[in-house]
């Protein structure tokens, strides 16, 4: 799988994204050469707490963008807002040039912006293949009256099943085809959720912590799949805590803290950014490997190596 992803075509998609973002200034809210998603003044408060307050952000088309930040930074809330699962107090955003604020979640998905969830949502008592088939959009047999006449949707169903089987093979879930999705392991569920999202044939995939709770061996395979999405021409925006992974696969990183975007840039650059280090170490620190890994590579960031160094470093 990973080998396929790193063949010549794959290199070019990655290279294209890298080249496009090379000369973009490393500043929060910076304009991108070819944005697929542009958001302005998105605010969401829960009581007195402003969970999200994003002035301006653009997501580059065809690139893998990481959305990082300490716990409670508002990353998942921002995801929920963008995909219509939550309503903002104010703000506008466009996807592929069309405004999408106020659009219900199922219509956001149909427009090509599909998300996964932090807590994996497989449909337990449906088979793996039915989980996959469900993802296809524009199914004739999903209309009530047409569903009653199987000849009206059988051919389309076969096409969908064929596509689903290809994806299952690609994600190495074909052996589990007929099993209940609820019987899969945590990692397999993540794979299934990602594969199912691809059945929608989206332009942009939004992954909320795709690696959470996945064992290291499977992490490698998941990383390969995410990279493959970019090679297939999709834009990826993902939330992640694992900085190794962020550095490995993302072309661009956006850092949120306390609801605001505080830094943007190539992953290596933002990890060395003092504002980012401050945000991570000033807040409750959950992902010990993350700053430690950065510290190991960049000795120029001394405060960024151990969680317990945080408070001392600040003082």
């Amino acid at each position: 799988m990973r080998d396929e992803a790193t063949t010549s075509g794959a290199e070019s998609a990655h290279a294209r994204a890298t080249a496009a973002l090379r000369d973009v200034p490393r500043e929060p809210g910076v304009a991108k050469p070819d944005p697929i998603l542009v958001a302005d003044n998105v605010v969401r408060s829960f009581g007195g707490l402003t969970a999200v307050n994003v002035k301006h952000v653009e997501i580059q088309r065809g690139a893998i963008t990481a959305l990082i930040g300490p716990n409670g930074a508002g990353k998942t809330t921002f995801f929920n807002l963008l995909t219509g699962f939550d309503k903002p107090d104010e703000g506008q955003w466009t996807f592929n040039g069309d405004p999408v604020q106020g659009v219900p979640p199922h219509k956001v998905a149909r427009r090509g912006m599909v998300r996964t969830f932090q807590l994996t949502k497989v449909l337990s008592r449906l088979s793996v293949i039915d989980n996959m088939r469900l993802g296809a959009v524009g199914q004739k047999g999903e209309r009530f009256w047409r569903a009653l006449v199987p000849s009206g949707w059988r051919r389309q169903e076969n096409e969908i099943t064929e596509r689903a089987d290809e994806l299952l093979a690609r994600f190495k879930l074909d052996a589990k085809r007929e099993d209940f999705a609820g019987s899969l392991s945590g990692g397999q569920r993540k794979l299934l959720e990602m594969a199912r999202a691809l059945m929608v044939q989206p332009d942009m995939v939004m992954l909320d912590e795709p690696m959470a709770g996945v064992n290291p061996a499977l992490t490698q395979s998941l990383l390969g799949h995410v990279k493959a999405l970019r090679e297939d021409g999709m834009t990826v925006l993902f939330v992640e805590h694992d900085m190794d992974m962020v550095r490995d696969i993302s072309d661009w990183a956006i850092v949120m803290a306390q609801g605001e975007i505080i830094a943007e840039g190539a992953p290596e650059d933002v990890m060395a950014d003092p504002r980012v280090i401050d945000a991570y170490l000033g807040a409750h620190h959950d992902g010990a490997p993350a700053p430690a890994a950065t510290g190991a590579q960049g000795p120029g960031a001394p405060a960024d190596d151990e969680p317990k160094a945080g408070p001392a470093g600040r003082e």
Binding site: V114, F117, R125, L126, R133, L134, G141, G182, S183, R196
Partner: protein, 329 residues
């Protein structure tokens, strides 16, 4: 002790009108609860508005029988919309609260004094079934050593089982289609289905209407078999029996409600015939129970049986234990 009578009433209950009524109601409830995961605790109201829609059209407003059927059907759809629009956007437990309240409101409206000139109040309505029985092709009933049905009963049972077969066919077709896949997926996780571009609200509404309409067929058979309707028969225990039947047969199984209904009524009828006979024959001494108490004891025994079934076979008769156990995760 007359074993012939005990066995013949039990056998008759296997195919009788009551079994048909509960089977139809449970087929509808199975669409709600088993397939779509909608906790509808007001299924009795769907049967009630259908029966009253028909009876009021014929008796109160003196309109033809077929129009009564249409009015009943329309009333069912309107009830589903009224229940669904405010509640289907909320979590499932709200639907349970609203539906049980709505069913009580419907029943109390039917029996209210103010509306009694249309609904007949607590006495209900009669004399709406002549047109139905006028269509009866049977000139005489059947009477064998085991079972006997009058011509009228035979006609109700025939129509009832035809409706059951049609309802099963519709449910089977739908639940094996992509539409059914979406509905079952909504039962598992609404947000996941939304994230895949499906209009969850529309599907839940369709499922609510479908289950209500299938249940309304039971309402017609119920009213026609008794040739009378009474508001208090459409109470909450009506719905709870339907739930028992759905779970007994196995939720989200096409044949579950029908077999559940047959077994439920067979058991209940058999025990309710057996116990008083045993008491009268002196097999059970009156110090344990009298014939008057036998009816209540019968319900207790059936209740214990159902509890044991849920413990040892939570998936019901047709269910897949592996599937049911996935819920525990």
């Amino acid at each position: 002790m007359n074993w012939d009578v005990i066995f013949s009433v039990s056998l008759e209950s296997l195919v009788g009108a009551t079994t048909v009524v509960y089977a139809l109601a449970a087929i509808g409830l199975n669409v709600h609860f088993g397939y779509a995961g909608l906790l509808n605790f007001g299924q009795s109201a769907f049967l009630g508005v259908a029966a009253y829609g028909m009876a009021m059209t014929v008796t109160t407003f003196d309109q033809p029988f077929w129009l009564g059927l249409l009015v009943g059907l329309g009333a069912t759809v309107v009830l589903a919309l009224l229940l669904g629009i405010p509640t289907l956007r909320l979590r499932a437990d709200y639907l349970a609260i609203v539906t049980i309240a709505a069913a009580e409101i419907v029943r109390l409206l039917f029996r209210s004094v103010t509306l009694s000139k249309w609904t007949g109040g607590s006495d209900g309505l009669q004399a709406f079934s002549q047109s139905f029985y006028a269509l009866n092709p049977y000139s005489s009933g059947i009477s064998t050593r085991l079972i006997s049905f009058s011509a009228r009963e035979l006609w109700v049972i025939t129509v009832g089982w035809v409706l059951v077969v049609v309802a099963l066919l519709v449910v089977w077709l739908l639940m094996n289609s992509p539409w059914g896949r979406v509905v079952k997926a909504i039962r598992e996780d609404e947000d996941a289905v939304r994230s895949l571009g499906k209009n969850v609200f529309a599907y839940k509404m369709q499922a609510l209407i479908l289950g209500g309409v299938l249940g309304s067929l039971g309402g017609y058979v119920f009213a026609l078999s008794l040739a009378a309707i009474q508001p208090d028969t459409y109470g909450t225990e009506f719905t709870f029996y339907m739930y028992t039947i759905v779970i007994l047969g196995g939720a989200a199984r096409v044949l579950g409600p029908v077999v559940g209904s047959m077994i439920f009524w067979l058991l209940l009828t058999f025990i309710n015939a057996l116990l008083p006979a045993l008491v009268s024959a002196g097999v059970i001494p009156t110090s344990i129970m009298t014939t008057n108490q036998a009816g209540a004891v019968g319900y207790i025994l059936v209740g214990i049986g159902l509890v044991l079934l849920l413990i040892f076979r939570p998936q019901g008769i047709f269910g897949d234990r592996k599937e049911v156990m996935l819920d525990a995760r």
